[in-house]
Structure formats: C-alpha cells, structure tokens
C-alpha cells in the first residue's frame, strides 16, 4: 500500500547531486547560512549571558566570582565567540532589513553587501578580541 502510494506521488525520478564539495556557494548563500547559525548560537549564548547577569547582580561576592571567571581564557573565549556571533548576526540582520525595503536585491549589490557584511563582521570580531584580551 505504502509503496504504491509513494510511487504515484513521486512521479519523476529527479537527479540527486550528493557531491556536495563540487557545489559552489555564492557569497549571499554563505551570508544566509551564517546568519542562521549565529542566530542559533545566540540562543545558546543567552543562557550564559543571563546566568552571568543574574549571578553578578546577586551580591558583591558573586559579582567578584563572575568577574574573576571573566579573567580566564575559557570565559574570554566564550565571550569572544558570543560577540563575534552577535556582530555578524546583527550586521547580516541589518542587511536583511535593507533588503526588505527593496535595496541590494540585484545580483551585483546582493553579492557585494553579503561580502561587506562578512568582512565587517571579521573586523568587529578582531576588535572584540583585542578589547577582551
């Protein structure tokens, strides 16, 4: 029964390309998936940020504890990762808003703005690293 149904609903045998490494991803495609990945990263990051905010506001001891945690490489590295994700998600998000208003939607401008967003995000990421360390 099930087999029969499947055969009638899928009419064409469509080609499947599993050689993923041979597919070229244009800049806007990379910009898009990075925006998605950084969005999910920010959701996870929110747990850390909320924890740090809540703990640091409880008492002076707890504040100093979190503060000393921030001196460790791991915490700085996490903070750097969060800032990098935030910077990219924010820039690509602003690009989204501009595109929603009808700009940068041509092939040329779409590619350029995707690249600009990614380059600016790298600059922000380096600045965040310099600032934290």
């Amino acid at each position: 029964m099930l087999l029969y149904k499947r055969q009638t609903t899928v009419k064409k045998q469509r080609p499947v390309n599993l050689a993923l490494s041979t597919i070229q991803f244009p800049a806007p495609a990379i910009a898009s998936i990075l925006h998605r990945i950084t969005g999910v990263i920010m959701l996870v990051a929110l747990v850390f940020l909320t924890w740090a905010l809540v703990t640091s506001l409880q008492s002076e001891q707890q504040f100093n504890w979190v503060s000393s945690l921030m001196d460790t490489f791991l915490a700085k590295f996490i903070a750097w990762g969060i800032l990098t994700a935030l910077g990219y998600h924010l820039l690509a998000g602003l690009r989204h808003l501009v595109m929603d208003m009808g700009h940068w939607e041509e092939l040329q401008s779409g590619k350029l703005s995707a690249k600009v967003a990614m380059v600016l995000a790298i600059v922000l990421s380096v600045l965040a690293g310099v600032w934290l360390w």
Partner: protein, 115 residues
C-alpha cells in the same frame, strides 16, 4: 508537515514584522551594553548595580528580554520547520526553547525587581 504558517504572531506576515521590530530593539540594547563596557574604565559591583538601579535601564533590559523572547521563539521555529520534519520532534524542541526563553524572562524580571 507544517500546517500553520506562523508561530508567535497571528499570521506569517505578523511573525515577519515581529522579528524585524524586535531586531531593532535588540540592536539598540546590544549597542547600549557594549557602549557601557567600552566607556566604563573599571566595572565594579557598585557601578554594575548602580547601572541596573536606574528605572530606565530596568525597563530597557526587560524590553530587550521581551524582544529576544519573541525574536528567538519565531527564529527557532523558522529553523525547525526547515530541518526537523517530524512534527512531534519539532514540537518538543520548540517547547524546550520557548520554556527556556520564558524562564529567562521571568528570572530577569525578578532579579531586576530587587536591584
């Protein structure tokens, strides 16, 4: 299969507008926070609690958490509806994320209350 084209708002269009509106609030709050850390030479407990003692900082912070609740709720829904095909599994992950967002919202509310 995805049967309903929206999760938080009344329609897909409503969801779309909510994501954009909350994105702007989150941008402003992120700039504010980074600006605070950059402009403050040494963040001590007194400075930190002094900041959150301001009524407008409490309001702004709660506003940002409200924004991220809505933004993250719709955001994870968009991701899940693309990749998780099984409805029960999708509903489960959505529930976990949504409850986590609500718990964080409530936690921040009560913590800010006491500062």
């Amino acid at each position: 299969m995805v049967r309903v084209a929206s999760t938080f708002g009344r329609s897909g269009t409503h969801d779309y507008v909510l994501v954009r509106a909350t994105a702007i609030i989150l941008t402003l709050y992120a700039l504010f926070m980074v600006g605070f850390f950059v402009a403050t030479p040494e963040v001590t407990y007194q400075v930190w609690t002094g900041l959150f003692a301001n009524l407008w900082v409490k309001v702004f912070t709660l506003l940002a958490y409200t924004a991220v609740l809505i933004h993250g709720w719709i955001g994870i829904w968009q991701v899940l509806t693309d990749y998780v095909k099984k409805s029960s599994r999708r509903a489960f992950v959505q529930l976990v994320v949504s409850v986590a967002l609500i718990v964080m919202w409530l936690t921040i509310l009560f913590v800010l209350w006491g500062v």
